[in-house]
């Protein structure tokens, strides 16, 4: 019993000793706040030419603050390596000759109050550019060889000068074939910087070759012979474009892809099979995608829709959705045109849905042409058909352009005229008549938003003799203005036009013919 008393006594002593008076001080000062003014949210500079000269004003909520400064810069959009902060200044005023490669960087300004040791970071986006990273690019050819013209736009969308045949000037020769499509990738993998990394690459596709160019220099990175692990036997490219999680290339009607969500060498893989029996197929040159959806193709051999997938060697056969006007498989049609209209993100599904239109011609009855609204739903598709009358202007059209979003219209070329057709009420309206002798070779809708460079144009390219004109029209409720806002002129036949700026990304424009 005595032992128990001793034990209990010892326990109580320990308990008492463990009590301590709470001396916590709740009279806390508010957190110090350092404020910097005079630091812009972004700067655009030319490497080896421009100085970053910034002299910000720095204040603190702490009286008598004494600051220490550090300026640093690091690379963005890096894959496969950790970006390193390079110190470029230790005084409040920065005067730094930009030497970084042309791409996106982040400027970091660290301010430390030496008295309190409190530090705060401020950042600013730095776009390092070259003369090639801003302007209108025109893809053109002379009937057998392709090139590009670059219209420089240093102060506004209206060009102040032109670099003619810029592709051949830089690369020492033209690209074989007729120009077809310009597409842009900001995460294309190459070793142009010395290590395998994301590269801003402009792709010019012709009917005989593809040139992947470093956007900063326009030097060719790869062509049709080096874009693949195993080059295809026939070089007949149809398109190169970005789909969800993958880059796609269609050559000679066969589909190839690069899975973009893992390390890759920038080379396209094996030809995708149509099905598990490797049934022969030949895709139409037209495709339907947004950058956040898998692309839809049309196999002209079987008259069937197929869906490309980022990985895997086999494409997916598209089946019919609940209500559809025409089967997605074996519908006995030939595709005349297909293009992108809209994309819709459904937050509850974390998924995007693309929507487009196509024009079909019946294989058995060529006088049967159908304008179809395409509503893909993952591996299913529903179509809403508008059977065209032979008297409709669009029936004999030769060139088409869907509006990217915007009004529910399709523009088309018939003869030397551009017409529009209302996709809701089928109303057709003359929009533009090319001057006598001019042949319309190209029509496309392009829109882009950037302070000072925002535009929403319907571009119409024409050819007269060996010269071209690209007229850029604004539209109002779908009707083109009576005269173009900008006109580009040069030599050759224009096939595509793209406005390029350091802010353009692979998600900026809809990928579509």
């Amino acid at each position: 019993m005595k032992h128990i008393y001793v034990l209990i006594g010892s326990g109580l002593l320990l308990l008492m000793a463990s009590c301590a008076k709470d001396k916590t001080n709740f009279d806390l000062k508010p957190k110090e706040q350092i404020t910097v003014t005079g630091l812009e949210s972004s700067y655009t500079t030319i490497s080896q030419k421009d100085h970053l000269t910034i002299d910000p004003t720095v204040t603190s909520t702490e009286p008598d603050a004494n600051f220490d400064y550090l300026w640093g810069i690091y690379e963005t959009n890096v894959q496969g390596a950790a970006p390193i902060l390079d110190t470029i200044g230790r005084t409040k005023k920065l005067d730094y000759l930009v030497q970084q490669a042309s791409k996106g960087w982040v400027l970091v300004f660290r301010v430390t109050n030496k008295k309190t040791k409190y530090a705060q970071y401020f950042t600013s986006a730095i776009n390092v550019v070259t003369q090639f990273t801003r302007g209108w690019y025109v893809a053109k050819d002379d009937g057998s060889q392709a090139d590009m013209d670059l219209f420089l736009t240093p102060v506004s969308l209206v060009p102040d000068s032109k670099v003619e045949n810029v592709y051949s000037v830089v690369n020492g020769g033209k690209l074989n074939g007729k120009a077809q499509l310009l597409t842009y990738f900001t995460s294309y993998k190459s070793t142009v910087t010395g290590v395998l990394s994301n590269t801003k690459a402009l792709f010019l596709t012709t009917d005989k070759d593809v040139s992947a160019m470093n956007m900063n220099t326009l030097k060719q990175i790869r062509n049709i012979n080096t874009l693949f692990y195993q080059p295809p036997a026939t070089a007949a490219p149809d398109a190169v474009f970005l789909g969800s999680s993958a880059n796609y290339l269609v050559n000679d009607g066969q589909c190839y892809s690069i899975y973009a969500m893992s390390a890759n060498s920038g080379q396209f893989g094996v030809r995708k099979m149509k099905d598990d029996a490797n049934t022969p197929y030949h895709l139409s040159r037209y495709f339907l995608t947004s950058t956040s959806t898998d692309p839809y193709f049309f196999d002209d051999m079987s008259s069937s829709f197929l869906m490309g997938t980022a990985t895997g060697a086999v494409m997916t056969a598209v089946t019919d959705d609940a209500v559809t006007a025409m089967p997605a498989q074996n519908n006995n049609k030939k595709m005349i045109y297909m293009g992108f209209k809209t994309t819709t993100y459904v937050a509850s599904e974390y998924a995007s849905y693309v929507n487009g239109y196509a024009i079909f011609q019946d294989k058995a009855n060529p006088s049967l042409k159908i304008l179809s609204q395409l509503n893909p739903n993952k591996t299913k598709m529903s179509m809403v058909n508008d059977t065209l009358k032979t008297t409709d202007k669009i029936f004999n059209a030769t060139n088409y352009a869907l509006l990217d979003g915007d009004e529910n219209l399709i523009y088309f070329v018939t003869g030397n005229q551009v017409w529009s057709r209302n996709l809701s009420n089928k109303f057709e309206q003359l929009q533009f008549t090319a001057p006598a002798g001019e042949v319309i070779t190209f029509i496309r809708h392009k829109k882009y938003t950037e302070t000072g460079y925002t535009h929403n144009y319907v571009l119409i390219g024409t050819k007269l003799g060996d010269s071209y004109k690209v007229r850029m029209f604004i539209k109002s409720s779908g009707s083109l203005a009576s005269s173009p806002e900008i006109t580009l002129e040069g030599k050759g036949i224009v096939r595509d036009v793209m406005y390029m700026s350091p802010s353009v990304s692979e998600y900026t424009y809809s990928n579509s013919y």
């Binding site: 692990y229 195993q230 690069i258 899975y259 893992s262 390390a263 890759n264 060498s265 080379q267 893989g269 094996v270 030809r271 995708k272 099979m273 598990d276 029996a277 490797n278 990985t311 060697a313 086999v314």
Partner: protein, 257 residues
């Protein structure tokens, strides 16, 4: 109550007595020798038992090639020495398998052609152990196993038990490379068979040997490309041989998942 007290005391004594320090070898212990992973992997615990078995085949070599060398990594423990220190290897006969025969399937460890390399040089603790394997005609139809052990000698005592041996699986037929492991089967090419292996070689023009698989496995995009090439070739083969699809040596259908 007294009994309970005794029981408690006995349990306490047993508990204390059961504590025993693990017998790790110390780095300042006597000189010991043991195999180990590649020198770049010695601090990666998951590689502690890597390279215990190295399959080797002469299948890919030209007929004029009659011998080749398989290398293992060996480490001295207990610090460096100012003088070279030889170590001793000995073959162990493994029951129920065809054991390699010295002079027929490999150059004996006592042969000066190789024994001169079985030395930890002064000032170092690591060396590569060459095992010269011989292309005996019997290997065209047979696979033999060479198990080699380090044995204690005047220079070295034995190291950790699990690292005292290595094995070479030797043949002149197509055999499963070590890098065609469980995950390579599960995620890429499926179950191994020599028929599938030979088909892959024929379809791609690549060796699909240890070195090729190791390099290709590190490049997902390239691996996907080859999977596509083999898959396409297999479908085409089966289409061109109706009713007689490609089957492996066990009669199972060859499948690329």
């Amino acid at each position: 109550m007294k009994t309970l007290k005794y029981v408690l005391i006995v349990i306490a004594v047993i508990a204390v007595a059961s504590c025993k320090k693990d017998q790790y070898y110390l780095f300042n212990d006597t000189a010991r020798i043991q195999f180990g992973p590649d020198a770049t992997r010695i601090y990666t615990a998951s590689y502690n038992l890597a390279d215990t078995l190295k399959p080797f085949t002469f299948y890919y070599e030209l007929p004029s090639v009659t011998e080749d060398t398989v290398f293992f990594d060996i480490y001295a423990i207990g610090g460096v020495s100012k003088t070279d220190r030889g170590f001793t290897l000995k073959q162990e006969q493994v029951p129920n398998v065809s054991n390699a025969v010295a002079g027929t399937h490999y150059v004996a460890f006592t042969d000066p052609r190789v024994s001169k390399f079985y030395t930890i040089k002064a000032g170092t603790v690591h060396t590569s152990v060459p095992v010269i394997v011989l292309r005996d005609p019997s290997l065209k139809t047979n696979t033999v196993l060479l198990k080699l052990n380090v044995v204690s000698d005047g220079n070295f005592q034995l190291g950790e038990k699990s690292n005292l041996w290595r094995k070479v699986q030797l043949t002149d037929r197509l055999s499963q490379p070590a890098s065609w492991n469980a995950s390579f089967s599960q995620y890429y090419f499926g179950k191994y068979s020599t028929v599938k292996h030979a088909f892959m070689i024929q379809a791609t023009g690549q060796k699909w040997d240890e070195s090729f698989i190791s390099v290709t496995s590190a490049d997902y995009a390239l691996l996907q490309y080859y999977i596509g090439v083999v898959k396409t070739a297999l479908i085409d083969y089966n289409k061109n041989n109706p009713g007689n699809p490609l089957r492996d040596e066990s009669g199972e259908l060859v499948v690329i998942p």
